[in-house]
Symmetry: C2
Subunit: 344 residues, 2 copies
């Protein structure tokens, strides 16, 4: 018996989902015209467009973006990879990205590495599998495999948070300079026994870069630059606890330069509870310019980093690139601002 008797035709469509072909039929046009009416409205007659849109509405058509992406190998998905969601700075960058990208019809695929570069590599692989239109990642450091993968990818890559020569596009600030800036400020104020306190500097290596800048300035003055590295992630709690530790290890400390505002504010509030005067007994400085720092007494001296702005700018530059425009500058310095409060 020959095999060309398909008694039962293969039947795969499971759902009652409305397809573009059905819309096209209802609108009296071909599927491809319906597709164009939705995706390139200027390429069809007004008449066709109106009929298609009307049919879409009437049938409750929801475009199958998966099929569209497969056919066009463009997805309007943007992969965003951050090392942490607890740290609010990344969330603020995401927010800036989000609002700008969503307005242009892009969707965010969110990944969290927990400061693990191998995890980043895995996420990048997965996201590539989604034919993402672009990738945003926090930081310029990647492991070897990830670097290779990124280098061979033919879509825009945006590295944010720190300024430097990256894979492709870059929006960030100079953390070494920020560290120098705060250290200079502390020197100017007359402090000489200054401790830098950071949390997990191998993970939050940008805080490590700020320490480099800090140390540079102190050493240029012939001053030592002791470092206290905490084993927990930065938090109010960790900051509060670190105060005791620092004063025990370095009894002559006049000022503490904290890696971020959470630590600094935690220490400041703890100092108050312990009856220590800030900055009389101990001066405290932070980094980020979180609102909290403005509401404690004395106000926290800190460095304001434009985080949402960084996200928005990164998104705008990506959109420029994705819409085929030439990109003249690949690096964008968003800068930072020293905000002196009463705490130093």
């Amino acid at each position: 018996m020959s095999k060309d008797s398909p008694a039962t035709v293969k039947q795969r469509r499971n759902s009652d989902q409305v397809t573009l072909s059905q819309v096209a039929q209802a609108a009296g046009v071909s599927p491809i015209t319906a597709s164009r009416a939705l995706n390139h409205p200027d390429k069809v007659s007004e008449n066709a467009r109106r009929n298609v849109l009307e049919a879409v509405e009437r049938l409750g058509y929801v475009p199958n973006l998966v099929a569209g992406s497969l056919a066009s190998s463009r997805s309007r998905l943007i992969a965003v990879i951050v090392p942490s969601l607890i740290n609010t700075v990344f969330v603020e960058v995401i927010k800036g990205l989000q609002e700008t990208l969503e307005a242009e019809g892009y969707q965010i695929l969110l990944g969290n590495t927990d400061y693990d570069l191998d995890r980043e590599y895995q996420l990048v692989r997965t996201f590539f599998g989604w034919s993402c239109s672009a990738l945003v990642t926090a930081g310029l450091r990647h492991n070897q495999a990830c670097h290779t993968l990124l280098a061979n990818w033919d879509h825009p890559i945006m590295e944010v948070m720190e300024l430097g020569k990256g894979m492709d596009l870059n929006v960030g600030l100079d953390h070494v300079a920020a560290g120098r800036c705060m250290a200079s400020h502390l020197i100017d104020r007359g402090y000489r026994h200054i401790v830098y306190v950071g949390a997990r500097l191998t993970q939050d290596y940008r805080a490590g870069m700020r320490y480099e800048g800090h140390r540079e300035v102190l050493q240029a003055q012939g001053i030592e630059a002791p470092l206290v590295e905490l084993d927990t992630l930065g938090s109010l709690q960790a900051g509060a606890e670190s105060l005791t530790q620092v004063l025990a290890q370095h009894p002559h400390t006049q000022a503490i330069h904290f890696a971020n505002d959470d630590l600094a504010a935690g220490a400041l509030l703890a100092a108050q509870r312990q009856g220590l005067s800030v900055p009389g007994d101990i001066a405290i400085a932070g980094f980020n310019g979180l609102p909290l720092g403005q509401h404690v007494t004395p106000q926290l001296t800190t460095i304001l980093s434009p985080r949402e702005e960084m996200g928005r700018l990164a998104a705008k530059e990506l959109i420029r690139r994705l819409s085929g425009k030439n990109v003249y500058r690949r690096q964008h310095d968003v800068g930072f601002t020293l905000q002196t409060g009463g705490s130093t």
Copy 2:
């Protein structure tokens, strides 16, 4: 001339992307066996599996998830829709979701409504287009169109944050009860002139629910329950500013029940700056149990809501459902805890 002379064969593959067929060829098996080796490892011989995995490694194959999703109409994408990313409570829920879902190989598609239900509807439509495996959304309220869309969707829907009868699954807490709880606490402490302060209660309607509970308790005692509604979103700044406003409008105020800890902490810190004693001159209570509240002096009385736990539990329940297990309980109450500090 007949049309069957395809001089130039249509050529669409643009990239040099390695495909599953190439892997299969390299491994000496058919494409479908290669597919099974990767997705259902227990359905192929150990020999085949080893060869395929080796070929994957050697060729640097990255699965095209878009094609896979189209073919299987399953995507391992989970849509997560929140009203805000500024408000840290949602971020913490996302974090709980994220860590649990990623561990199971699901990816998060993130959407932000900015407290706009029409925006939510648009996001839901878009996400459905991605054949998401499930949808997580904050809150039980949707507009009519969105409700219809959700009701007809044949994948799990998880509504988080507030407890109640939702579309499908639900993990949250009872905000009315939380409002009652704090109000009772304030009554117990002897306060009678109590003002509730919230920010944009039509948007943050859960804060409105807490006010309902609050009012219920006060009215049962024959006490009025004045409400001050701010026009900005909750923040330290708004809390600080509200203090003056409340005292001007209600000079006899003994206690302020704030809709959240940001407002409360802002007011508490502002009171200190103004030389007001807390709780002597004015008692202050919040909601959420943010770390900040534990570090101010006096410690903030608040209600602790298990936000990350809420995210984790929601994720676990979704995974149960997605792996075909029976779900016996659709509603999960994560509860809350009154945390009394010195501020009341």
